[in-house]
């Protein structure tokens, strides 16, 4: 387990945060720009000396260790590859200064697809390639904890899409705790195991992603692009119907056929505005997933005249965004039993 406390008073801003993060796993510090997320990271890495810092990883206190010996790796938003060295020399920089090797060169090159870039110079790389090298370099320095400060923020959409699979692979294969800072909702949803929501220098709430995403008492749920998250694994394929079934807790969700092996862990993102609620199920309907659920809580977005309905489908918590009118018509209350219609094509599988 990782416990972090950072306190610092700036001229017109105070950061006072305390959170814990599961080890291993990706913990996303999520919040708007200026929330103090990067400050927390800088303090953890030793690039900033805050008024108060406490880092405890698996029982060991790290704050007293000099920054260059702390073995807390950092991937910066601007990559910061050394321009006077080749990619290979950049990658080996931290490795040469490490006492013990547990993360090996071959597996890191393979994980990030860097084999063909070794002789190149940083200036000749694309943005996505640069960030992958930056991640590789940080990993090969044998960190006990990896920090990533909005690593995708300076990339355009195609580059971001290009590098995302590498990050999800990182999430699935590494046994490292990772603290990832972003203000991009979809990055958080694709990568986080655990979320720490920050605003104005403080922690608003924290918890596993699947829980946090659907909580109507948090600003996350009120977002236009809010989505519920289900963690499951691939149960089976149905090639004749060109569908795959994902098992989430006790619930099966059908999605368009996926290119993954059975029993592979899968994360489903279900946008709240794609979820329809009903008290009764029509028989002939295109929707593949008609899931019984119980209403946990109902939030209101007055400005948009919308209701945010948090529902428990047995295998997880989802969010449905409907009009306040509809919520009234159906007389939805916490505890109401409803049916959730989830279109297979609306489910994002990562």
């Amino acid at each position: 387990m990782l416990f972090v406390t950072v306190e610092n008073v700036f001229r017109n801003f105070t950061v006072a945060t305390s959170f814990q993060a599961p080890v291993p796993g990706i913990t996303v510090l999520f919040g708007p720009s200026g929330a103090g997320k990067s400050t927390v990271l800088a303090a953890m890495a030793g690039l900033l000396k805050p008024n108060h810092l406490d880092i405890e990883l698996n029982g060991e206190k790290l704050q007293r260790i000099p920054p260059h010996q702390r073995r807390i790796g950092m991937v910066f938003q601007d990559g910061r590859l050394f321009p006077h060295m080749t990619v290979k020399e950049n990658l080996l920089y931290g490795l040469k200064r490490a006492a013990q090797v547990k993360i090996y060169v071959d597996e890191t090159l393979a994980l990030l697809g860097l084999e063909n870039l070794l002789a190149r110079r940083p200036a000749t790389l694309s943005g996505g390639e640069r960030q992958r090298v930056a991640i590789g370099r940080a990993l090969l320095a044998q960190p006990r904890l990896l920090l990533m400060d909005e690593p995708l923020a300076s990339l355009d959409t195609p580059r971001r899409a290009e590098i995302m699979p590498y990050l999800t692979r990182l999430r699935d294969t590494l046994r490292l705790p990772i603290v990832y800072v972003t203000h991009a909702y979809d990055e958080m949803q694709q990568l986080a195991d655990h979320v720490v929501l920050m605003e104005a220098g403080r922690v608003l709430a924290a918890g596993p992603l699947a829980d946090m995403a659907a909580r109507v008492d948090l600003p996350l749920a009120a977002r236009d692009d809010a989505a519920g998250v289900l963690n499951g694994y691939l149960h089976s394929h149905e090639p004749e119907r060109r569908l795959s079934s994902i098992a989430c807790g006790g619930q099966i969700i059908l999605v368009p056929q996926q290119n993954i092996e059975p029993r592979m862990p899968v994360r489903l993102r279900i946008p709240a505005r794609e979820v329809i609620l009903a008290l009764d199920a029509p028989r002939e309907i295109s929707v593949n997933n008609v899931v019984p659920a119980t209403v946990c809580a109902i939030g209101r977005d007055e400005a948009a005249h919308a209701a945010l309905v948090e529902i428990d489908i047995g295998g997880g918590i989802l969010l449905a965004r409907i009009t306040l009118d509809a919520a009234e018509r159906l007389r939805l209350r916490p505890g109401s039993r409803v049916l959730a219609f989830i279109k297979s094509v609306s489910v994002e599988v990562t």
Partner: protein
């Protein structure tokens, strides 16, 4: 117009000038790197330190030469132990001429190297720290290599300036032909002698050629400093 060919005596002067400049820069370089590093860090009383380093630029060269005599002359606090224990004399020698030039060009070289340091992204040193590099390690593996163009500019600028140094050299090292009579001193001496204008003119042309060459090379390094990724 063809370039005049130097006579053996003139060659002696030219070669001596180049030797003195070379020694001056060789000696001043490590000191300027250290000073530049110190001045770029967060040292207390940095401003005072900076002023002292730049003193030779502000003082009349003759005064700098005089200060050197006071300190490094055979009876001075630095010169006496050197002479008594190691039998090394600096005043009125070639080495002394090099020392005088070195002191005069030191501020120039420190500035050029600092420019090199300032042109590099401080974020790179931060990244190196997270990768396990301590401060000396960072200096030699990241800061100094990236300041390379600045160091090269310091060398060429220091060398070129040493070629032309007069006041400090003639005061501390005197005007000894073959030993301390560099080009500027030789030109001055030629002008003191009636009928020596022709020789002064020839020597001046050589001085101009050397200075131009030095400036052109120095500029090439300066432009490499500017667009830095």
């Amino acid at each position: 117009m063809s370039l005049p060919r130097p006579t053996p005596a003139e060659w002696q002067v030219i070669l001596l000038t180049l030797r003195v400049a070379g020694l001056a820069v060789a000696g001043a370089l490590p000191i300027s790197i250290i000073l530049a590093a110190l001045l770029s860090s967060r040292l207390p009383l940095r401003f005072l330190f900076n002023a002292i380093v730049h003193l030779p630029m502000a003082l009349p060269p003759v005064v700098t030469g005089w200060l050197l005599l006071i300190l490094c002359g055979v009876e001075g606090p630095v010169g006496a132990p050197l002479f008594n224990h190691f039998h090394i004399r600096l005043a009125f020698t070639t080495a002394g001429a090099a020392l005088a030039c070195g002191v005069m060009v030191l501020p120039l070289m420190v500035r050029a190297i600092r420019q090199g340091f300032d042109a590099t992204d401080p974020g790179l040193a931060q990244a190196a720290r997270t990768l396990g590099a301590g401060s000396l390690d960072r200096f030699f593996s990241i800061t100094l290599p990236l300041a390379g163009p600045g160091v090269l500019m310091a060398i060429t600028a220091g060398f070129t300036a040493s070629l032309g140094e007069f006041g400090a050299v003639i005061t501390f090292a005197a005007n000894i032909p073959g030993q301390t009579q560099t080009l500027p001193l030789a030109i001055y001496s030629a002008l003191q002698v009636p009928g020596g204008e022709a020789m002064a003119a020839r020597l001046a042309i050589f001085a101009i050629i050397l200075a131009l060459a030095g400036l052109i090379i120095s500029e090439r390094f300066a432009t490499r400093l500017r667009p830095h990724r």
